[in-house]
């Protein structure tokens, strides 16, 4: 019995260590050409990694081994090693790589090119270019589905979203969004696609089964990025030109709250373990940690200059392994 209790304690100890700690946030600092790495246990910046020129987009593999960063000005993708937290490689790619995302199996890295209107598919382990897909004008935000069957990309200057089949890399459908769509986000159950339209200051909601536009939700000025709570009940949208975030009740598809957050809020991610929302404020060069339940601001973390954090920037911390 005594042994059993000790084992139980050990088990708990390991369980706690694994589940409640050890994640990092990788914030692209566009004006200081670097990535700030935030330890999400202590909320401290533990490292600033130099990358290419004017980094914007970011994607982290599930197991944290690789972090990919897009640098539209130097036209390259920086590859960061998750163990050493070092930039190990810069890959030249296209004319202006911006929005990036990984398929959920981490097999492919998808890179939207702002200038030549293509999405490039990179094998995430060999780092080789596999395919170039022509999409709409100035493609930006990308999201991928759970079944690794489709990805969605917002074509900012065409006011559309391209739906691309991952099996054959063909564009299956082009959806008409609002004005100047920049970011796309699938609801956690993948039943809905939310599209943030910068110019019309609203969010278009599509049903992913039939691609019908269900509704358009008015948000704050110049929405930039979207994240969902884990259960999908709420969506959080950053409004760049209003210094606020909008909170959307996804059941009723209504904007239920607007919250002052800081200047030029841009990238936004939900952190499952603490149920906090991390918001990147471009002008203030900080990351705000917001409690998603009581909506209190827990912390403001200073990062590099002009952070954007465009993409999924959270991943496991491998530096202690």
């Amino acid at each position: 019995m005594k042994n059993f209790l000790i084992n139980l304690w050990i088990f708990f100890f390991i369980f706690l260590k694994v589940s409640f700690s050890n994640d990092l946030a990788f914030i692209t600092n566009q004006l200081s050409n670097s990535v700030s790495v935030i330890d999400l246990e202590t909320y401290k910046v533990i490292k600033e990694i130099s990358v290419g020129s004017r980094p914007a987009g970011v994607a982290v593999t599930k197991h944290g081994k690789r972090i990919f960063v897009s640098n539209p000005e130097s036209k390259e993708i920086s590859v960061i090693d998750g163990y050493k937290l070092e930039n190990i490689k810069n890959i030249s790619l296209g004319k202006g790589p911006l929005g990036i995302a990984l398929t959920k199996d981490d097999k492919f890295l998808l890179v939207a090119d702002w200038y030549d209107h293509k999405v490039r598919v990179i094998d995430s382990s060999t780092l080789k270019l596999i395919k170039e897909i022509s999409v709409g004008k100035s493609p930006a935000g990308i999201d991928t589905d759970l079944k690794n069957s489709k990805f969605y990309v917002a074509n900012r200057d065409d006011h559309t979203v391209s739906v691309v089949n991952i099996k054959n890399f063909q564009v299956e459908k082009v959806l008409k969004a609002g004005k100047r769509p920049f970011a796309v986000a699938l609801s956690p159950d993948n039943n809905f696609l939310y599209v943030a339209n910068v110019k019309s200051s609203d969010v278009s909601v599509f049903d992913t089964k039939n691609y019908k536009k269900i509704t358009t939700i008015k948000v704050g000025k110049s929405p930039y990025a979207i994240t969902f709570l884990q259960d999908g009940s709420k969506a959080f949208v950053t409004n760049q030109h209003e210094n606020t975030i909008s909170i959307i009740d996804t059941l009723n598809k209504k904007n239920i709250k607007t919250l002052k957050i800081g200047e030029y809020p841009e990238g936004i991610n939900f952190y499952i373990k603490t149920k906090e929302v991390l918001i990147v404020n471009w002008f203030d060069s900080e990351v705000v940690v917001l409690n998603s339940m009581n909506l209190n601001i827990k912390k403001r973390i200073e990062v590099g200059e002009g952070p954007r954090g465009f993409g999924n920037f959270i991943g496991p911390n491998l530096t202690k392994n």
């Binding site: 004017r54 539209p72 200059e305």
Partner: protein
């Protein structure tokens, strides 16, 4: 007549250069903050700058303003009196701040794109005031590999000069 294709080319390139789609921009937004401490009460500083339509009473480089209260066209003397059309985005008498955007500008003379700026006055403990003028904007060139006159540095230089000359003169006016 044999020059026609050349003339058409010139006309087309001219329009491409100066009348760009105002909603398109490159992937990197620029940021600029300029501030000045003035030996005057914040109310007095605000009183001088609060009239959106009369920026020429304190900014030395503006030769003329035309305004209907919601928009204004300023004629900026250091750059060939170029007309810069602006819109009042936000105004707070209580917070002593206002925010503007540029709606029309000739990028040959003022090479910025998608520009917004915020000017505010704050009182300090020692009785002085600090005026903070900050802006967010893109370079004028919307494509990659900009020529030097339309790159990031050119955009930053234009806005910086505009802010600095204004703030320096504001200080001079209030302290004399």
């Amino acid at each position: 007549m044999k020059y026609l294709p050349g003339i058409i080319f010139l006309i087309v390139s001219f329009f491409n250069l100066t009348i760009t789609d105002v909603f398109s921009h490159g992937p990197t937004r620029q940021k600029l903050k300029e501030s000045i401490t003035i030996n005057a009460k914040p109310e007095d500083v605000w009183n001088l700058i609060k009239d959106f339509g009369k920026i020429d009473i304190w900014h030395p480089s503006i030769s003329k303003v035309e305004s209907d209260g919601k928009t204004r066209t300023i004629y900026y003397s250091p750059r060939k009196n170029t007309a810069i059309k602006q819109k009042l985005e936000n105004y707070s008498d209580e917070k002593m701040m206002y925010k503007t955007s540029i709606t029309e500008v000739d990028i040959k003379f003022f090479p910025v794109n998608t520009y917004t700026a915020n000017i505010s006055v704050k009182g300090n403990e020692d009785g002085t005031s600090t005026v903070l003028w900050k802006a967010a904007f893109y370079r004028a060139y919307v494509n990659n590999d900009p020529p030097p006159e339309l790159n990031e540095a050119a955009a930053i230089k234009a806005v910086k000069e505009f802010f600095q000359s204004g703030l320096n003169n504001l200080k001079k006016k209030l302290e004399n």
